[in-house]
């Protein structure tokens, strides 16, 4: 294997961080192993990268070798009778749902974008708007194959090599590289979901609605207006969705067609959405977002119920192509915290007020309901998550950095956790605090076993475990 002579400048999804790397696109397991051997010889680090949709440095390794896994994107087996699908790690969620839905199945857990790859989804152990019910994607992995930097190929399932199963999923790509993944799909009886939309007037109502709504729904998600203060602090809108039962949809074959799911490329049938981000950019500041949020909130005051396709409900982030560009030259970062249900209201009241006091409010806040899971580097709690997008500029970096460190302190005190598909500023000390020394020691021991020469090393790993 010949690594390209030149560096490729790679970025995080938010365009707020970049690092040069030798980009290699392997097509086979053997080629991945060749890269490991080369890296060892040259003293370089290696990290795998899927679609590059993470907001931080998990898929970057400055000056090292980045494995672009998108070349290994074949769905190798699909059984529409049992719902078991086997695919290579570069396969995207988009490929996955488009394969299974026409047969009456849907991926049990999906992220807010369908552009992510399975390998990336497993490494971060992603969750969806149904985390409280279906857990993380790892809980639906029946088996996977991976290659370790030693060259060993391992097959893992909850029964076989269970320690590796529960650590490589959530392991941030630092133990080995997935080469084949088998997932159990979920049976559906319609291409549509029933969605309730209801307003919530403050944070207490917001979290109560998530908590109370979760048991009666398959999905639940909240939009939180991070700019509204005072008595309206934490106001927003809840969307709760349910699968349709058998018979509720008179023509499921039709609604499950991919063509009836995909997001239209134009608004009102004429305006191309690829241009939309240019028109949103001028509103991406404190005043503009106040206007947008207020209008959105007023529009949400009418409680209503409607039917929506799976793709339209789940992949909101894909609705506006290249939406991350609206944040301008400095890009954006995301700060997501997971806090137990008992302490979330107090912690986030403090967080939201602090952001408003600093005049650095998030322009988009999203809440979800969560439950714990068994994976080693888990980010889950029995509680809620709040994800906040922040615009980065040359003038706000220092202040925003200081504020996020304060957020970390508040969240840790509330017994909260963080998620490494998202957070970019978490320090090693913070990570140690929420993972706990025992978990970190266990992870490092596995790391030593799987990767004795320390070849797999992302910038995130150096930041958190380095």
């Amino acid at each position: 294997m010949n690594i390209t002579k030149n560096f490729t400048q790679l970025e995080n999804f938010g365009h707020s961080l970049s690092a040069p790397a030798y980009l290699v696109q392997p097509n086979t397991t053997e080629e991945i192993y060749e890269v490991f051997q080369l890296a060892k010889k040259k003293g370089l680090t290696v990290t795998a990268r899927g679609a590059g949709r993470s907001y931080n440095d998990v898929a970057l390794t400055g000056g090292g070798i980045v494995l672009d896994m998108r070349g290994m994107n074949t769905i190798t087996d699909w059984d529409n009778f049992t719902g078991l699908i086997t695919a290579q790690p570069g396969t995207t969620l988009e490929q996955l749902w488009q394969k299974v839905e026409p047969d009456g199945w849907w991926p049990p857990v999906v992220s807010g974008t369908m552009k992510t790859t399975l390998g990336g989804c497993l490494s971060a152990n992603i969750h969806g708007k149904n985390n409280f019910k279906m857990g993380t994607i790892g809980e639906h992995v029946v088996e996977f194959t991976a290659i370790l930097p030693t060259g060993a190929e391992v097959i893992c399932s909850p029964k076989k090599n269970a320690d590796l199963f529960y650590s490589m999923i959530s392991g941030l790509g630092m133990l080995g590289i997935f080469t084949s993944i088998t997932l159990q799909m979920k049976r559906i009886h319609s291409g549509l979901l029933t969605v309730d939309a209801l307003p919530v007037h403050n944070l207490h109502e917001h979290l109560s609605a998530l908590l109370g709504g979760a048991p009666n729904n398959d999905y639940i998600v909240g939009w939180l207006d991070c700019i509204a203060g005072g008595k309206s602090l934490g106001r927003g809108q809840i969307h709760a969705a349910r699968y349709l039962h058998e018979g509720e949809d008179s023509n499921p074959q039709e609604t499950m067609k991919v063509s009836n799911q995909i997001l239209p490329p134009r608004i009102f049938g004429v305006f191309p959405k690829s241009l939309l981000h240019y028109f949103m950019a001028p509103f991406t500041n404190n005043l503009g977002t106040w206007g947008v949020n207020t209008a959105k909130y007023i529009a949400s005051l009418r409680k209503h119920t409607f039917r929506q396709s799976h793709a339209a409900f789940h992949f909101l982030l894909d609705y506006v192509p290249d939406w991350e560009l609206i944040y301008g030259r400095g890009g954006l970062i995301q700060y997501q915290s997971f806090v137990p249900k008992e302490t979330a209201e107090a912690a986030w009241t403090e967080v939201l007020k602090l952001a408003q006091k600093n005049k650095l409010p998030s322009y988009l806040g999203v809440t979800k309901r969560h439950r714990p899971d068994k994976f080693l580097l888990t980010h889950a709690v029995d509680g809620f998550s709040l994800a906040m997008d922040f615009k980065v500029t040359n003038n706000n970096r220092v202040k925003l950095h200081g504020m996020l460190q304060e957020f970390d302190r508040i969240v840790l005190q509330a017994g909260g956790k963080f998620y490494f598909a998202k957070n970019s500023e978490t320090t090693a000390a913070t990570a140690q605090s929420f993972y706990g020394n025992e978990t970190i020691a266990k992870f490092k021991k596995l790391k030593k076993r799987c990767d004795p020469n320390g070849l797999l090393e992302s910038d995130l790993y150096r930041r958190i475990f380095g």
Binding site: F7, L17, N56, E425, R463
Partner: protein, 270 residues
């Protein structure tokens, strides 16, 4: 120089990676252990850059590195032994430094030698050395750096040339030629790279109170301490200037000198 691509001490800790809110510019300083080099390296580290310090003087380099890391309270500098006339080893050291730093935003070339010839002395061997270190070494490094920054659409290249490059004087033809060459090379580089978002800064110091100057020059007109020179260079870097004189007064002096007609200039004794 077979080992030149490796840090002296493989266990030296790598600096912390950059984050969106703490971008930690990363820089390479070639010629880091000399007068201006050491002062500028200290300054850049104080300003938060993580640095790969490169020089052929291993001991001076290591103590500078230790001093910087101690002052910062964290690993902020790495060292690489390298003789700039070993042109072929440049790509390997560059790759190593980028891998160790985790990226590269700033490149500074300060390596330079000077020989003060007598008025009737013509010394090709010394001239040859000055062209090798002052010009060819810079070209070897910048030829490797330029495509990298061009590809990244960002970055800053700083070349320490000299007021001596502005005119050919009776006093030092070889040095004048090497620095004139460097000044021109940097200008051409700027014309190529500005359109790709890369800043190229030419620094033209007059007299700086370094060991070499203090020993050989009697009349140190407008001479500055290396620390002052470092501050002025950093200021130019921050403002992404194209050319700066150190100290600033040399801009006006050289404006005059550049316009002295040859018929007069060739009769002058400096």
């Amino acid at each position: 120089m077979s080992d030149s691509s490796k840090p002296f001490d493989q266990t030296q800790p790598r600096p912390a990676p950059a984050t969106p809110l703490n971008p930690r510019r990363r820089g390479i300083v070639v010629g880091a252990s000399g007068g201006i080099g050491a002062a500028l390296s200290r300054k850049l580290a104080r300003e938060g850059l993580t640095l790969a310090l490169i020089d052929r003087n291993k001991n001076a380099l290591q103590s500078l590195c230790d001093e910087i890391n101690r002052a910062a309270g964290e690993p902020r500098a790495l060292v690489y032994e390298h003789d700039v006339t070993q042109y072929d080893s440049v790509p390997d050291i560059l790759r190593r430094a980028i891998a160790d730093l985790g990226g590269l935003d700033t490149f500074v070339y300060i390596a330079g030698v000077i020989h003060f010839p007598a008025m009737d002395e013509f010394n090709f061997s010394e001239d040859h050395k000055m062209v090798e270190v002052n010009l060819l070494g810079a070209m070897a490094w910048m030829s490797a750096i330029a495509p990298l920054f061009q590809n990244a659409k960002s970055g800053q290249i700083v070349g320490i040339s000299s007021v001596a490059g502005d005119r050919g004087r009776v006093g030092n033809p070889g040095y004048n030629a090497s620095k004139a060459g460097l000044t021109n090379y940097l200008e051409a580089l700027r014309n190529r790279l500005t359109r790709h978002g890369v800043n190229v800064l030419t620094v033209k110091p007059g007299f700086v109170k370094t060991t070499a100057t203090l020993k050989n020059v009697k009349n140190l007109m407008f001479a500055v301490e290396p620390d002052i020179a470092a501050d002025l260079i950093w200021d130019g870097m921050k403002k992404r200037k194209q050319t700066i004189y150190v100290a600033g007064i040399w801009k006006w002096i050289m404006l005059v000198i550049r316009h002295i007609p040859s018929v007069i200039f060739r009769r002058l004794s400096f």
